[in-house]
């Protein structure tokens, strides 16, 4: 990967154990998914957006660039519900579209939730390396080494596949690939791209795996690890930070409600 995803500074979230951090973020995901009031989802989105800027360790402009994608996520999460959701207090209808008060606020709620999910997910991804995560999963959660090393090796094999795709596309362009009609060309796509790329990748994976088995990458008992993955004070700090952020969001929703509406699933 290029240097874009290299953090400028390391925060407590970077230093925390990746495996424990994963459970923290899965917990946050479940907490957010069980949030059914629009005030709580609004403040969760706000608080985790702030935390993302503060604790991801990336320059402001990079984070802003990544966050800009959430506008689309907000729209795609909320629009279908706003236009086609159930509701009794109808504001506007046009053909099959019926916008009601309930569906409108439910749609906004889903949009806020998707921003909260996105911020949490981005915060995890930006502070974790793939290698660190798998070493931590092996040492802390006893994930089988054959799984961990397979996942790590596959990431290294991927650029070769992308390179092959490029070579194949260029070769077909030179030789004049494709059918006589656009539709015929589309039908032959699996044969022209999927088959050779998959076949090559499978063969390469088999060869790599044979070498890894000989070197006992899959041995479970009495093994040592190149990177140690301890539990440190940074884990407590990460736990406190995330718990405080979630608590702040629910406290704000209780004391400073913006919408003041009830459970989003059962009408308002």
């Amino acid at each position: 990967m290029n240097g874009f995803f290299a953090p400028a500074r390391r925060t407590a979230l970077h230093r925390a154990n990746p495996a424990l951090k994963l459970t923290l973020f899965v917990g946050l995901f479940i907490l957010t998914m069980l949030t059914h009031t629009i005030d709580a989802s609004f403040y969760l989105a706000c608080v985790f957006l702030l935390l993302l800027f503060a604790a991801s360790g990336y320059p402001l402009w990079k984070t802003a660039l990544l966050v800009s994608g959430f506008a689309l996520a907000f729209a795609s999460a909320s629009l279908t519900m706003i236009l086609f959701g159930k509701g009794s207090e109808i504001w506007w209808t046009f053909g099959p579209i019926a916008i009601s008060k309930e569906s409108f606020y439910r749609g906004l709620h889903l949009g806020f939730r998707s921003i909260a999910f996105g911020c949490q997910g981005l915060l995890f991804v930006l502070t974790t390396t793939s290698t660190g995560l798998f070493y931590a999963l092996m040492q802390r959660f006893k994930l089988g080494p054959k799984y961990a090393y397979s996942f790590m090796a596959s990431i290294r094999l991927l650029p070769m596949t992308v390179e092959e795709l490029r070579v194949r596309r260029d070769a077909l362009a030179v030789r004049g690939g494709g059918g006589f009609t656009p539709f015929g060309a589309l039908l032959r796509l699996p044969e022209r791209y999927a088959l050779p790329l998959l076949a090559q990748s499978i063969r390469r994976a088999q060869r790599t795996a044979a070498a890894m088995e000989v070197k006992r990458f899959d041995a479970r008992s009495r093994r040592t690890y190149y990177y140690s993955s301890p539990v440190t004070a940074a884990d407590a700090a990460a736990w406190l930070l995330l718990a405080a952020a979630a608590a702040a969001a629910f406290w704000l929703a209780g004391t400073l409600p913006v919408f003041g509406l009830g459970d989003m699933r059962t009408g308002l």
Partner: protein, 203 residues
């Protein structure tokens, strides 16, 4: 000598590192296809309401293709997780939730293959596994996206299109691709070796 070979056969019955690595690499190649497919899905979405569901079955393709090639318990689940892991590895904001979705969907596909005791690799069973994954995604959507609160006709349209697309793409299309790979000669070395093939060596 015969018992020794039989022991070797028994030991290699579970998932080996080779099985896992091939499954993961296979899913990552499909993960690259998924990135292209997101654009296809956007274009398909312009046809009519919820028409992007017409191509939705591709998201379940990794698990059925992996099972059709390797035919061992567990590969369908690993394949789904591996495809989602690609998103985490390349910094997608929705990586964590895709991971949880993939576990639910992979388990559903796995259950169908287990229901046929991992013996049946027909296009029909693969299609059924795709439909099961689609049903699991509906369950996840009810919690995640409140889809139960959509107008009834939208729910029916959305999920019947998704089920059909899963049956065709994850079932028949992946079956065809697996057959092509068999003809190319890569599938034979992936299959678990049957006991009678070892017995044939003793004779």
């Amino acid at each position: 000598m015969g018992t020794k070979i039989a022991q070797a056969a028994g030991r290699r019955k579970g998932l080996t590192l080779t099985d896992v690595l091939v499954t993961v690499v296979l899913s990552l190649v499909l993960g690259v296809v998924y990135h292209v497919w997101a654009a296809v899905s956007d274009v398909a979405g312009l046809l009519f309401v919820q028409s992007n569901e017409l191509v939705y079955g591709m998201w379940f393709a990794a698990s059925t293709l992996a099972f059709l090639l390797i035919r061992k318990p567990g590969v369908a689940l690993i394949a789904e997780i591996a495809a989602a892991h690609l998103e985490i590895a390349f910094g997608s904001a929705y990586g964590v939730q895709l991971l949880l979705y993939s576990v639910v969907q992979g388990l559903a596909a796995e259950l169908v293959f287990a229901g046929f005791r991992y013996k049946n690799g027909s296009a029909w069973v693969a299609g059924l596994a795709g439909v099961a994954a689609a049903a699991a995604s509906l369950l996840a959507d009810i919690y995640y996206g409140y889809v139960a609160e959509y107008a009834t006709w939208v729910i029916v349209l959305k999920y019947s299109l998704r089920a059909i697309s899963s049956f065709v793409i994850a079932g028949y299309l992946m079956y065809g691709l697996a057959k092509l790979l068999e003809r190319a000669g890569v599938a034979q070395s992936l299959r678990p070796v049957e006991r009678k093939e070892y017995d044939a060596l003793d004779r």
